[in-house]
Symmetry: C2
Subunit: 163 residues, 2 copies
Amino acid sequence: MMDSPKRIPIFVLRLIALGAAVTAAILMFSAHDTAHVFNMTFEAKYTNSPTFKYFLIINAVASVYSLLVLCCPTNTSMARFLLVMDLIILLLLDSAISSNVAIGQVGRNGNSHAGWLPICNQVPKFCKQTTAAVIGGFVASLSYLFIVLCSFHNEVNLLPPKD
Amino acid sequence: MMDSPKRIPIFVLRLIALGAAVTAAILMFSAHDTAHVFNMTFEAKYTNSPTFKYFLIINAVASVYSLLVLCCPTNTSMARFLLVMDLIILLLLDSAISSNVAIGQVGRNGNSHAGWLPICNQVPKFCKQTTAAVIGGFVASLSYLFIVLCSFHNEVNLLPPKD
């Protein structure tokens, strides 16, 4: 069975990941701003883009998964399964952050070649809050990277050396 | 030392990853189309967006890395280092694909909330080629996912069982 001291860093990392993913999901869900341009009202919220929806879903999934792993008792036989699951969550978080950074970059700077104007000067509150959400997602992602590396290290180093 | 039969699937996966990443990089680099709108000429190429440039760089890095690992002799002591490097390449590819899918989705469908018009109907050749590049990147990414899983499996299962 895995030694408890070896589990402590992973437990702490899972707690950080849970906090960061929950924060990211709440920030994205509640991000909201309104702009008035030429007598028209423009409302910015997460439902405006599939990329924001994807980010919210992935962070919600990561939150539920982190909570389940923290609350449910796990044994050594599950360690390899959890490592694969952690890797999948890491990839999903990585993907959600990257797609949001790409859209956020267009929102902030626009793209003159495509004729896409920047919108962050019109809805600064929304942009700031989604940026904070992406930072939260990044912290969760980084925690999962360390969880995967720690789990791999534990899984290999708990066994007798090869030579 | 790692048994040769255990190395064959990883060798094949690295070959697939190399081919897919090189193809993706070439397709993105050579993607080009021109549209004429209101007497103005619009030229679509990878330099138009930092996301396309990022995709090209990451696939070039993945290609060089795959080539180096395939050509240079590796031993068991390097297996864990390679596993971490493979994981980093997988995360970079995942990130490059996701950001390009997000931008591609806006290019194809636009975003009425942000006032971003779709551009793929004006530069269809460019959109098709970048889509093909993203599929190439996805194949490379999938290969790296299996490389990481196989390497982890080999690394753990070559050692005596715990119980």
